[in-house]
């Protein structure tokens, strides 16, 4: 039970990382002039779509959570719709937070929103997949002693590290090094581009870390 769970976890995380990496390279075969820096909006869309897709597929295949008793179609549809609403709400919520953090209100609104979307794909979608549209369960996960399974633990760590990553991503903004990835935001005070990179770096590396860490500390967990 334990070992199979850990194995599953490892594979899902590897797949997630793989999908992010693929989303960098694959589009350049189909799209002209594709590069992360210049057409960052396109890339972001592709990245978030692919991550979402991978998450959904994994959810359907692995089924980490206990399946609910009811399985009527209408129940599934409402559940799905609820999920969509949750996702959109979280996008808007993050957008508001970014604006409060100092992102400009009107100019670069698209960039800010796309940042909110990608943050949502890294945080909200796994939550939705694992816990369903149950806000109280989410709150439980993010409190001390609130975690009950290895899946929830990994969810907790990856989500928190996504937030930390996006926060760390803001730090290069004031620096005047004139690097291309800074130039992309040229003078505009926006916590969009840099933070985006921060978020996925952290997310990716933490996906790996989590797997390792959990593999090691797992025995303690159920004792």
């Amino acid at each position: 039970m334990k070992d199979t769970d850990i194995k599953k976890l490892l594979y899902t995380h590897l797949l997630c990382i793989f999908s992010i990496i693929l989303s960098i390279f694959i589009p350049s075969f189909f799209l002209e002039n594709f590069s992360i820096l210049e057409t960052h909006l396109t890339w972001l869309c592709i990245c978030s779509v692919s991550v979402t897709a991978v998450n959904l597929v994994l959810y359907l295949v692995v089924k980490p959570n206990v399946s609910s008793k009811r399985s009527s179609l209408s129940y599934k549809v409402t559940r799905f719709l609820k999920c969509c609403i949750y996702f959109l709400t979280s996008c808007f919520f993050f957008h508001v937070i970014f604006v409060l953090y100092g992102a400009p209100l009107i100019e670069l609104a698209l960039e800010t929103f796309s940042l909110a979307v990608i943050l949502s794909t890294f945080t909200t979608i796994p939550c939705l997949c694992l816990l369903g549209p149950n806000f109280k369960a989410w709150l439980r996960i993010f409190s001390r002693n609130g975690v009950t399974s290895i899946w929830e633990n990994s969810l907790q760590i990856t989500t928190i590290s996504s937030f930390v990553g996006i926060w760390l991503g803001a730090f290069p903004i004031p620096l005047d090094w004139g690097r291309p990835w800074q130039m992309a935001i040229e003078g505009k005070h926006s916590i969009s581009l840099c933070t985006r990179h921060g978020a996925w770096h952290c997310h990716t590396s933490n996906l790996i870390l989590v797997t390792i860490v959990q593999g090691r500390f797992h025995p303690h967990f159920y004792t």
């Binding site: 409060l100 953090y101 100092g102 709150l139 993010f142 409190s143 609130g146």
Partner: protein, 1090 residues
């Protein structure tokens, strides 16, 4: 006594910080006084005939002009070896080939083909080798330092006497006389790449071609000077004092023969400022008054006269003029400022008078004075060089020892703050050990200083102060070391929770980056927002936000949360969101740092006067007045909420009537100031008079209010009633079965209380004697009320010093601090009897908010952003710069620091509020049955037997812990500020060669240091205010008891002794209070039984 020692200790710690700052400043900030005297043709620099009878002749001044035109080409950062001729490689040595070597071929050809016309010197620039300072040196001939203290520090023009001024005052004709060009390409190339880049070679070749073109067009009477203002390091930067930075090229060329001899093999090394007197005399101008350069003697030789004697005589006369001028300057300067060494000054004056006498002798007996001539020139040169050396010693050299000493002192003091604030949290904390080493060390240092002074050793006051500081610090640290022992791990030294430590580190590191300093206006709110989100998240993480039901996990019952949640989730989240909104809105008031490339300051910062459109102006005016009213209303509401408004004491009366009056005055002043131009001419005088008087009136009112507050700080309403008041416990309606532990906790005591009351009522009815009851209202918030009143009173005069629209920021500021205090209080457990703690994140958030407010009130740590107009508020005419205007400008700049230290005890006054607030919030908890965000010191789970909200009286009940908490708070705040200062100091000393050191790091250090001083003074005043209130409360209690005793009751003293816990008297206490009393705020009953 304890309170006094807390204050003394804080003052001593502040003194340690000041000593560190002063020591560092004396080593780092080169200062010099600017004199505004000017040289003129009519006044020769000294007695004695002018050579060539220059006086009166047109075009000739102190000396006849030898060139009528000058072309001065300043090539920024033209290092000496850039222009150095390439010698043909000596056999055996491999030829060096560097991109910048030998690229100025034309200069080399000139030097070789016309040795009497051209000359290359290696000019030694004086540090700081930054362009502004160098250009100033190249025109004034002095040693400009970073702070040229004078009438105005933020001058965009040179006020000292200089070449350009002499030129424009002496010469006026249509033709050009002087052409000055300044090429920045080489410097730019150096910064962007480095001198070894091929681009540099290209640039130098370009410069060479330019000079070639120039020389072709030169006429006979024109002198060409090509010079670099400074050099550059290997990496292409400059600013410091290394060999490469200070050596610049200086190239002179004249179409006429100028030099008597061929150049030496190795170009001569001369000080850069030699150029100034040389050019002045060559052009027939007076030497600028403040020049301390020495003329290049060889250009004054008479070429036509082949007699060497005449040549030498001409050189001597030029040198003598130069020496006379320098001597005159020294005389004037030493009369104004005392920073030159006296002994050295005397020695030089003697030298000068001897040389001068020799020179006079030479003039009187022109024949046969060959020997005298041989001694005069070296004597004069010796004098000039001596003066220069002395000036450099006192004006233009970083003292690394002092810088390091200052930084070390600051670091040690920060460590001390950390240590003692850590001790103060432990319950067994005594003040005695704190003061003993301090006092002994301080007295020891005094004695030492006295001995040194008596032995005649001249010591700087800075060094003396630092010695005293170290002397008092060392015994302390030694004692700490001795008592350390091996048992305590080092980790206990880092009491801060990880995230706060991380944020503090980020802030610390930010001071080392120019970009972060420039964008600090955005970085500080970023960190503040992060801290706030972190706080909310942590409350949630610890399960304090949600009822336990939600958190308990159905399947695994063993994971029960630690305790019942105390605060409703919506409440905390609402506070957080409100704070974020406030911070974001305040961020709209943004002023650009002068180094930001593309940036426009917010138009909101400009005064309303500058708004053209009448309607907009009126709207804004309305908004400002609205903010003012809101500010007033919120303060009144606050006082009303806590009941302090009912007290008959004079300060409260002042708040009721004086504050609106002040508001009115402010609004009227704004109206006058913004519409002064539109006033009809007849009323002009009246308007200007009123706009002077109104601010004065407001300031006067504020001062009188503060005096009143100091006189009677206890704002308490006392009612004495005989007979048992028929009070009833208020029973909050509660329906349905209690669902949770929290409900039970709430309901059961109420029932118990009710029953108790019933019984007691029956008992009393049987007795004939009534009870004497004294009801004192508002005791619970007595400290906070005083601090809030003081803050409000301070805010008004400060508001007047800012532009009108800043009032919105002030409103936001008050709101923000209110919300922040509530949020912080939510996270702080109140341990009832035990030592109170002020958590680090609270202090850090407070300091961050002070920084943020500094920026949102339209300031930046650069001199150009100082709001000078503040100096004219309430001052009748624009007079010269006086201490008053300095004070006003300072108050304007550091308003945020002043306000914040006092709040709990704010930035200067705000900090005390940090301590008091949690206690205040306790009140709300019990009243509204909302889980209270505790005031910092008080809120946690209230023990069940504690029935009435004790609020700040808890602090009084444990006076020892109260003082410890005050000390802790002060030290923690000083620590956070001290860390910032330390970072500034380290950054400035490590990066003293940085390109932007004088533009960014040094101003930041100055502002931070000033802010620290203001904050620490404010902190001490704030704590003093709280202590004053405390003393007043004590005496009030004493009086109360006395009056009761006089009334003939044999009352046992209840609750007055500071050490006596109120709870011991509980059996005698009546049940709390009636509903209307509760509604009017905190209430406490202290009664004595007859």
């Amino acid at each position: 006594m304890q309170k006094i020692s807390v204050l003394l200790f804080l003052a001593w710690v502040s003194f340690l910080f000041y000593a560190g700052i002063a020591l560092f400043t004396s080593g780092f900030l080169l200062t010099r006084w600017e004199l505004t005297n000017h040289s003129s043709c009519q006044e020769p620099p000294g007695p004695g005939a002018l050579p060539w009878g220059g006086r009166g002749e047109p075009g000739a001044c102190w000396m006849a002009s030898r060139f009528s035109r000058l072309v001065l080409v300043v090539i920024d950062a033209l290092r000496f070896d850039f222009a150095q001729p390439q010698r043909s490689p000596v056999s055996g040595e491999p030829p060096v080939s560097l991109p910048f070597l030998g690229k100025m071929g034309f200069l080399q050809r000139l030097l070789e083909s016309q040795p009497h016309h051209a000359r290359l010197y290696q000019a030694k620039a004086d540090p700081p080798t930054t362009t502004m300072q160098r250009l100033k040196a190249l025109t004034t001939g002095s040693l400009p330092t970073f702070v040229d203290a004078g009438s105005n520090f933020a001058s965009s023009a040179i006020v000292e006497d200089n070449l350009i001024k002499q030129l424009s005052s002496t010469v006026d004709s249509d033709e050009w006389d002087v052409l000055i060009t300044h090429f920045l390409g080489v410097d730019h190339c150096g910064h962007k790449h480095d001198p070894y880049h091929p681009e540099m070679a290209k640039k130098l070749t370009q410069m060479d071609k330019m000079i070639q073109g120039l020389v072709k067009r030169l006429k006979n009477d024109t002198l060409l000077v090509v010079t670099g203002d400074h050099g550059m390091t290997i990496s292409g930067n400059h600013g410091g004092e290394s060999e490469l930075e200070t050596s610049a090229a200086l190239f002179l060329y004249s179409p006429r023969a100028l030099f008597p001899s061929a150049p030496a093999e190795e170009p001569e090394i001369i000080p850069q400022i030699s150029l100034v007197p040389t050019l002045a005399l060559l052009l027939g101008l007076p030497i600028p008054f403040g020049n301390i350069g020495e003329v290049i003697a060889e250009v004054f030789s008479e070429i036509e006269d082949s007699q060497p004697r005449f040549s030498a005589l001409a050189q001597a006369s030029a040198l003598h003029l130069n020496a006379q001028q320098v001597s005159r300057f020294l005389h004037t300067y030493s009369a104004t400022a005392q920073d030159l060494q006296v002994q050295e000054l005397h020695r030089l004056q003697k030298l000068f008078s001897k040389a001068s006498a020799d020179y006079q002798r030479l003039l009187q007996s022109p024949q046969g004075a060959e020997a005298v001539l041989q001694t005069v020139i070296p004597e004069l040169q010796q004098f000039l060089r001596g003066v220069r050396a002395m000036c450099i010693e006192s004006w233009a050299r970083f003292s690394l020892v002092r810088m390091a000493g200052g930084a070390a002192l600051l670091a040690a003091t920060c460590f001390l703050c950390l240590l003692v604030s850590q001790w103060a949290t432990s319950p067994a904390f005594y003040f005695g050990p704190l003061l003993k080493p301090t006092a002994s060390g301080l007295s020891g240092a005094m004695v030492c200083a006295g001995l040194l002074a008596s032995t005649g050793l001249k010591l700087d006051s800075m060094v003396l102060g630092a010695m005293a500081a170290v002397g008092s610090l060392l015994p302390f640290l030694w004692k700490a070391w001795a008592s350390w022992g091996s048992k305590r791990p080092l980790a206990s030294l880092l009491p801060m929770p990880g995230p706060v430590l991380l944020l503090l580190l980020i802030r610390f590191a930010g001071f080392f980056s120019d970009s972060y300093i420039i964008t600090e206006a955005r970085v500080a709110p970023f960190l503040l927002i992060s801290l706030i989100l972190l706080l909310v998240a942590r409350l949630h993480w610890e399960g304090k936000l949600l009822p336990p039901k939600l958190l308990s996990i159905p399947r695994l019952g063993f994971l029960t949360p630690a305790g019942p949640p105390q605060y409703s989730a919506m409440h905390a989240v609402g506070l957080g969101v409100g704070l974020l909104l406030c911070i974001r809105l305040a961020g709209l008031f943004y002023r650009c740092h002068e180094e930001t490339p593309v940036c426009s300051s917010s138009p909101l910062l400009s005064p309303l006067r500058s708004t053209v459109d009448g309607r907009t102006k009126n709207l804004w005016y309305g908004a400002c007045v609205g903010a003012l009213v809101a500010l007033l209303a919120s303060v009144r509401l606050w006082l009303h909420c806590y009941g302090n408004l009912k007290s008959p004491e004079p300060p409260v009366l002042f708040v009721r009537w004086g504050l609106p009056l002040m508001g009115l005055g402010t609004a009227a002043y704004w109206a006058l100031a913004s519409g002064a131009d539109e006033a009809p001419p007849r009323l002009r005088a009246l308007v200007s008079g009123a706009s002077v008087m109104l601010p004065r009136a407001v300031a006067g009112l504020a001062a009188s209010g503060l005096m009143l507050l100091l006189w009677r700080p206890v704002t308490v309403l006392v009612k004495a009633t005989t007979g048992a008041p028929r009070t009833r416990t208020v029973l909050t309606p509660f329906s349905g079965p209690p669902t949770s532990q929290a409900d039970l906790d709430y309901v059961v005591p109420q029932i118990y209380r009710h029953i108790q009351e019933e019984f007691r009522g029956r008992l009393e009815r049987t007795k004939s004697q009534g009870l004497l009851t004294v009801a004192a209202y508002q005791l619970g918030s007595v400290y906070s009320a005083a601090v809030v009143m003081a803050l409000t009173l301070l805010a008004f005069p400060l508001l007047l010093l800012h532009a009108e629209r800043i009032s919105l920021v002030f409103l936001l500021l008050f709101l923000q601090s209110f919300l922040l205090l509530h949020l912080l209080a939510a996270g702080i457990p109140i341990t009832t009897p035990g030592p109170f703690t002020v958590p680090w994140h609270a202090v850090f958030a407070w300091a961050l908010m002070a920084t943020q407010t500094f920026y949102t009130t339209g300031h930046q740590p650069v001199f150009s952003a100082i709001q000078w107009h503040a100096a004219f508020v309430g001052v009748s005419e624009s007079r010269d710069f006086t201490w008053l205007s300095a004070f006003l400008v300072g108050a304007n700049t550091f308003a945020s620091h002043i306000l914040f230290a006092a709040l709990p005890f704010s930035e200067a006054v705000g900090c005390p509020l940090l301590l008091l607030w949690p206690f205040l919030c306790e009140n709300q908890g019990s009243q509204k049955r909302r889980q209270p965000p505790g005031n910092e010191a008080e809120a946690r789970v209230r023990p069940e037997e504690e029935q009435e909200p004790r609020m700040e009286m808890r602090l009084r009940d444990a006076p020892h812990h109260f003082s410890a908490a005050l000390l802790q708070l002060g030290l923690k705040y000083l620590f956070v500020l001290g860390i910032q200062i330390l970072a500034c100091v380290l950054a400035a000393s490590i990066l003293r060669r940085h390109l932007l050191v004088w533009k960014v790091f040094a101003p930041k250090f100055i502002f931070e240091a000033m802010g620290f001083i203001v904050s620490s003074v404010g902190l001490c005043l704030g704590i003093a205010l709280v202590m004053r209130v405390d003393g007043a409360v004590s005496s009030w209690f004493r009086q109360l008891v006395l009056t009761q005793q006089k009334a003939g009751e044999q009352s046992s003293l209840v609750c007055t002794g500071a050490g006596l816990s109120a709870r011991k008297a509980q059996p005698h206490l009546l049940p709390p209070c009636s509903q209307d009393l509760l509604a009017s705020g905190t209430s406490l009953f202290y009664n004595s039984r007859s």
